[in-house]
Structure formats: structure tokens, C-alpha cells
Symmetry: C2
Subunit: 186 residues, 2 copies
DNA sequence: TATACTTACTCACTCAGTGAGTATATCCGA
DNA sequence: TCGGATATACTCACTGAGTGAGTAAGTATA
């Protein structure tokens, strides 16, 4: 794994989540991913297929070939019980305490929690805030050797603080609009 | 490539840069990387070797086997003219306008520019600031569909703004201490 | 009638990254 | 003195991230 606390560095849980909500096929899942979470995950079509293939080989999805009248044949993907369990575990577990984890993992969890269990949103936001505070505290006492390492550390701390501010704004947004209106697939 | 503007998503230029300054071998380069730029690049030893092997296969480095009296044999790596050119081009070219580019690419360039041509530092900082301002401006007019995409966009803008603040602090640091005292390899 | 787009996917490739393993030498304490 | 920890210096096999081009059909458009 690249740097730190990478539970999911690819949109695998987003894809799993779409299929948790309803079955679908690769082409469509890619479109939904870019439409619904395009500011979070920027993946190519082939990469989407790569991930789906892996999820399938790991037993989280099953595929069924469907021939269509006029359009090319497609593989309808369905989530397995193992896949459902995996997704639920992911959704319930906290995200990491880094910037990246918030930008990717946490935001994706927000997206699904909003649709599946909006009552958990305040707790999720509070937990994440706490986690980030801990990370900041840890970095603040850390000493780096050399000017560049010090600057890098300062940058990371600043970044984390701005995530904390953003989380406050987030909390506001969700208390203002407790019910999601723009449900996907409608 | 993962998300956006990834000129160098691995410490290849840092390694090339170390060898630009003086020849060395893999083990030592990895140690220097973690010591000098450990807050920027967090790579395993084997990954360092992977990158070095690639640089070698691309003709930017040459290796020479050296047998030692008591210690294991090692490969001394030397930069080629093509490698020097590549490094110089990288050092002179601007970094991307994203957070990641600053955290990785730009900071690494700062590290080397400080040693090789400190007079360019103010210009580098100014250029990078300008680039980031442009990115912010671009994102501010962009509209995202859906609450989550909007939140993600707001987060990115906040992140960029905090990088801008950090750049100001950076400029201060470098005007206060124009001469680097902690040169490596001394 | 040509051509360009949409649907739906496949393939071959490079790069990122890890974790364990190998082999030798030195140091340090019981 | 003997055994274990640590340092030097790499290697290997593996999974996963990511791209870009290609394929093959139907459908709209000019």
C-alpha cells in the first residue's frame, strides 16, 4: 500500500455498495460511480471492470450473462451474502484519521449511510472529528529532522485542521437537510 | 494514473536527485530517503530497489558491482547524462496545481533547489502559489451534482486554501534562512 | 450513405507496493 | 564463548492500481 491507513484506496466499496442497493452491470456501475461520486473517485472504465473482476474472484459478487435483443450481451452482477457482510462491516467501521481517508473512504461512507441509515450520520461525523483531532495531536508532538521534513509536517497539520473545519460545515449541512432528496436510481 | 496531475507519484526523482549529487548504492539511498525526506516519501526498502531497477532499465542509471572486504557486495549506482538531463528538466518544470503535487513533487523540488540553486526558491514559491490560485478559481466555478460531490469539492477547495497559507509560511522560512545549513552527506 | 456516438466489455501492459527471505558480519551481554 | 540482536545489501514472488487501445454491435445524425 502507498502511504498510510489505506483501507480502501480504490472505489471497491462504492461499487459493492451500489450492488448492495441493487444488481447492475459493469458499464452502468461505472456511469453511476462517475455521476454520483465523480468528485471522489476518478476511475477509468477499465479500472472499474478490474475491480469488479477482483470482487467477483474474491466471492463478493456473482455474475450472470444476459443476452439482450438489440444491445451487446452483458454480465449482470449480484452481491453475495459474503459481499453484503463485507459492505456492512466497512460501513460500520470508522475511517482512518488522515486526509486521504476522509476524502475517499469517509465521504463514500457518508454517501451510503445517508441512504441506508441517516440516523447514524451525526455519530459518524463526531467519530471522524475525534479521530482527526487525535492525528493532529500526534503530529504536533512529532519532531522532524531537517527543514523540508518540518515543512512537510506543518503542511500535513494544516491540511488536517482544514478537514476539521470542513467537518463542522458538513455537520451543518446534514442537520439542515436531514432527509436526502436526490436518491440515486430514481 | 490514479487521480490528477501525477508527474511523479513515487520518489523516483528524489532518488535520481541523490545520485545527481553523488553516486551511491540502493541500501544507502533508501536510508537517505527516509532520513532526509521521510515525511514526504514513505517507501519500503524493496520499493526503493524497484524504482532504482526501473531507472536503470530506462537508461538513467548505470550499475557497477563492487565487492567489499567484509560486507556483502553492492551495486554502486551512477547517474547517466540522460539521467542528469531528466533530473534537471524535472527540477526546472513547475509542479502541478493540486494538493498532492505540492506535498510530494513540489516539496521534493524545494529540497533539491535549496542545495543546487537557492536563488530560485522565491520564484518557485511564487509560481506554485499562482498555480494553486488558478486551481482554486477553477474549482470555485465548477458545479457538482449531488450533496456528496458538493461536499467533496468544498473539501478540496479548503485543502487548497490551506496549502496557500502554508506556502506563505514557507516563503517566510526561506527568507529567514536563505542558506541551508543542514546539507546532507556532510 | 458515411460517420460518429452509445452500449458493453476485453486485453496487454506498466507501475506501485508489500512481506518474506537470503547471506554475511559485527556487537553485546550472560 | 556462545547465542541472539542488529546492520549491511539485496532478491523474489506476489497483489493491486491504472491506462490506453481495441472490439463489436446498434443507433442517431447530417
Amino acid at each position: 500500500m502507498p502511504d498510510s491507513s489505506r483501507r480502501s484506496c480504490s472505489p471497491e466499496f462504492a461499487l459493492l455498495g451500489f450492488l448492495y442497493l441493487q444488481p447492475g452491470h459493469g458499464y452502468d456501475l461505472h456511469r453511476r460511480l462517475t455521476a454520483e461520486l465523480g468528485e471522489i473517485w476518478r476511475v477509468s472504465q477499465s479500472q472499474t471492470y478490474n475491480i469488479l473482476k477482483r470482487l467477483q474472484s474474491q466471492g463478493y459478487l456473482t455474475a450472470r450473462r444476459v443476452t439482450q435483443e438489440k444491445l451487446p450481451a452483458m454480465q449482470t452482477l449480484e452481491i453475495t451474502p459474503a459481499g453484503r457482510a463485507r459492505f456492512e462491516a466497512w460501513l460500520a467501521a470508522p475511517s482512518g484519521g488522515g486526509v486521504r481517508a476522509v476524502r475517499l473512504d469517509f465521504l463514500t461512507r457518508l454517501y451510503f449511510a445517508r441512504q441506508l441509515d441517516p440516523s447514524r450520520l451525526p455519530a459518524m461525523l463526531a467519530d471522524q472529528t475525534e479521530r482527526l483531532r487525535q492525528t493532529v495531536a500526534r503530529l504536533e508532538v512529532r519532531q522532524a529532522s531537517g527543514e523540508i521534513n518540518r515543512l512537510s509536517l506543518q503542511l500535513r497539520i494544516r491540511q488536517l485542521r482544514s478537514v476539521l473545519e470542513w467537518l463542522e460545515e458538513c455537520a451543518e449541512t446534514f442537520t439542515r437537510t436531514p432527509e436526502p432528496e436526490d436518491r440515486p436510481g430514481s
